[in-house]
């Protein structure tokens, strides 16, 4: 369908579908949506670049390496500490490193400066276990051979130096950056050492970035069950753990957009099986434990944990459910959370009425169509004007999205929860579900919305002609 604000960009029509209309069946058969294609130029898209996806999402959470940007200052500066992928390390998230190329480097090349930067940084921080180098638009365009420099630097400093060809213009969104991150880590690190330990009952958690310590909510549950976690790809992870990832018996894949790549590559090369899970929500978390348990024959242990944990949170969830019952939700996330979270909303008595993703691929949308009810609007890569029109038309009780969209929602008088970095969090696992419910309750039931409805003063003597 075409929104009113899109009259002059009719190509947006293919990116907006209502489940149950125009060939998209109520049973989600025949639901097709245009996605993972270039953004319409001039749109205020929420999409980022390949560098952001690689540096910010996949590489950035690795806690004990020097995070080096090869490029201009801005790319490094903006990726400094904005994503709460926490770790138990005093070094992590505190520093950014950048080769800081200037005009003369653009003309004469930046390779020497990169090499020098890596050497200097590793001298300043001898405790770092390696260096991740992320490429940017201009250094790629001028033809700097970052891969070669990384190799030379590695010989000089005696630690792994990994080069990510993640220049911003590659691909149509940050999604390409996730792919580059996966491939690079797989090619350069995974399997580079062969420890002789016993890895029975071992898994990797793949595609969890430990946002606001999410991992603390579910790791102990797997461990209680009798399963060891070798590697977290890539939340709260050491570069050393990435090297031995291939020793695990099973990959447990959470983010099925940004990290399926490495699970697929490991299946191909090491015959490592993988299962997809959702670690948010009560029934999802229980299913994840059951699925992993089944693989190892630990079903009894899983049921014991599930019973204890669900009983613990039940009264709290019931309290929030009473306060949230019947509310409607517009959920707009990077990709998978838009299909992970409709289940969670239902567990709280709420219903998703609009679902959107920034960089979802076809498989993400297939899952979204399956999860949402008939009549739900599904939109790909919405621009700012579309978001505004949708919020004004559908008037959801809650909008779940990211920092950039938060203040638009507020200006429109709409309750909001930041699903990217969480308001407080963590939101994963059983205990995280209580946090999520509490944050949603805060967002919806705070008194300010009542003041806005009943006590806002009409605008007087307004010089701004657009304000009615």
């Amino acid at each position: 369908m075409l929104l009113k604000c899109d009259k002059t960009i009719p190509e947006r029509k293919k990116h907006i579908v209502i489940k149950g209309e125009n060939g998209c069946g109520g049973d989600s058969s025949g639901c097709e949506i245009a996605c993972n294609v270039p953004t319409t130029p001039g749109d205020m898209t929420e999409r980022g670049c390949t560098y952001a996806g690689c540096r910010g999402v996949v590489g950035g959470p690795v806690k004990d390496v020097i995070q080096m940007t090869h490029g201009p200052i801005g790319c490094a500066y903006y990726s400094w500490g904005y994503r709460p992928h926490l770790a138990d390390s005093d070094f992590h998230m505190k520093y950014i490193f950048v080769s800081d190329i200037d005009e003369s480097n653009i003309i004469f090349g930046g390779e020497k400066k990169l090499l020098q930067s890596i050497i200097e940084a590793s001298k300043e921080f001898p405790e770092a276990k390696g260096v991740f180098v992320y490429n940017t638009c201009p250094t790629a365009l001028i033809g700097d051979d970052g891969k070669y420099i990384a190799k030379a630097a590695q010989e000089k400093i005696g630690k792994p130096v990994v080069f990510f060809p993640c220049e911003g213009f590659r691909g149509v969104s940050q999604s390409q950056g996730h792919h580059v991150g996966n491939m690079t880590i797989f090619d350069t690190l995974v399997g580079s050492v062969e420890p002789e330990e016993d890895y029975a009952y071992s898994i990797n958690i793949v595609g969890d970035y430990n946002i606001k310590n999410d991992e603390k909510t579910f790791e102990h549950l797997f461990e209680d069950m009798g399963v060891n976690i070798i590697t977290r790809f890539t939340g709260n992870v050491s570069i050393d753990d990435l090297k031995i990832m291939h020793k695990a018996q099973l990959n447990v894949v959470h983010c099925q957009r940004s990290a399926t790549y490495i699970a697929d590559m490991m299946r191909e090369k090491y015959n490592t099986p993988s299962i997809n899970v959702t670690l948010w929500g009560i029934s999802n978390m229980s299913n994840a434990l059951r699925d992993v348990a089944k693989f190892f024959g630990l079903e009894k242990e899983a049921e014991r944990i599930i019973n204890t944990e669900t009983a613990k949170i039940k009264p709290k969830i019931e309290y929030y459910k009473k306060r949230l019952e019947g509310k409607t939700v517009f959920i707009y996330q990077g990709a998978p959370r838009a299909w992970h979270w409709p289940d969670l909303m239902r567990e709280l008595g709420m219903e998703v009425v609009v679902a959107a993703t920034t960089f979802g691929h076809e498989d993400d949308y297939d899952k979204i169509f399956k999860k949402v009810k008939k009549g739900t609007l599904v939109i790909d890569n919405p621009n700012a004007m579309e978001l505004e029109e949708i919020i004004e038309t559908y008037k959801p009780d809650l909008f779940i999205s990211g920092n950039k969209e938060k203040y638009l929602a507020y200006k429109l008088g709409t309750s909001f929860v930041n699903g990217h970095t969480y308001e407080t969090g963590p939101y994963a696992g059983y205990s995280g579900m209580v946090n999520f419910a509490r944050d949603i309750d805060r967002a919806i039931n705070t008194p300010v919305w009542e003041m806005l409805r009943e006590k806002a003063w009409p605008v007087k003597n307004n010089s701004n002609p657009e304000v009615v």
Binding site: I9, G42, D43, D102, E103, Q116, K411
Partner: protein, 455 residues
Amino acid sequence: MSTVTKQKRAVAINPTRSCAPIGAMLATYGVHGALTINHGSQGCATYPRHQMARHFREPIEVATTSLTEKTTIYGGRDNLIAAMENVYERYHPTMITVCSTCLSETIGDDITGIVDEFIEGHPDVDIPIITVNTPSYIGTHITGFDNFLKTVAVDFPVKDKPNGKVNIMPGWVNPGDIREIEAMTRKMGIEGIFLTDYSDTLDGGIYRPKPQFPKGGTTIEELRDSANSLATIALQKHVGGEAAEIYEKQYGIPAYTLPMPIGIENTDKFIKTLSKVTGREISEELRDERARLLDAIIDAHMFLTSLKVAIFGDPDVVEGLVRLAAEIGLEPKFALTSSDFKPWGEDMMKLSDELGLDMEIMMKSDLHELYKKIKEEPVDLIFGTSKGRFIEEDLDIPLIRMGFPIEDRFGYHRRAIVGYRGGIYLVDKITNAVLAKKGLVVSNTLLEKPVEGAD
């Protein structure tokens, strides 16, 4: 005796500067109904939007031409034309700023030529479209703002009847600062044309229904009329200084480039200049504010005198803060900026000589370097942005937050550090940080911990 040092390392570790496009975006936010199109990768628009939203807590909208691999080979012309059509037809803005990026500059897009081509092909387009060069590999975030002002100074003003107003370029400050500067001019009965005024657009209210463009901002008419003002006062040398010169050369309006009005003397300079160019007396109200600032400094001096301070941030902000620090009895030991502006080092040396300071003036430096210096030679206080948080935490030294960005505290964008009232705010803030940190306050006196002379 102070010294100027310049960092030797190639690698920058925790720099205090970002890149140019965000400056053009911020300046554009100060024009009512104006929008920016960033010609580059999506990240070049999304990252700055994210950064500004964290600081201002407002919706930040910037369009992108979404360049991809293909356009790096064939050029970004088609995307830029399509973007201008898209933004013009859907938003009907009052003005469009097209700013460049590393990507579009390196592939060699002729942005001005493409904009001209667009305007020729669209006779219906009756709004100004300006281009600002903002490759990230030249200068810093303030360069983008400065380049924007130079473009405005050349493109907009239309000579007509004198308007009796004063052009004021506040520079890269906060909405609260612009409001304070505006209040000071109003108290003298003077009307200013602010180049540009993002006080309301980036610290706005809730209006139902939501206006399409945020309320406030300088109008296009005011930009045109700026050729007819009595004078131009640039309050940051590095953001607006050269643009003010353009006004003088092209339209015969005298240019005054002053230090940022932080503290007594710098604010005096601003007020006296306003008085000089308009012939208006300094108002009683401003005299009272000045007297209250002096009173606050006297009340605080037993807590503050001879404490050591490290100051980092944008060049003009640091320069203003060093003078304020000296006025309230602090001893600036380090003054750091990431920029490589030569005149800044010279100006800082002059300032230091005048004030008799003994500090290290650190140019093209970064916060890792500052951390190491402070570890060797401790200070009592740090003035700077949220990016200095790790020094505050590691060395347990209070960081008094000021400048851009403040992303780990609330409401700083609303506060003014300029003017007499901004000075009072700073004295309060600094003194409270000292009292909270240092020990026992009884009967308006301080017992410092640990007790001097005791074991």
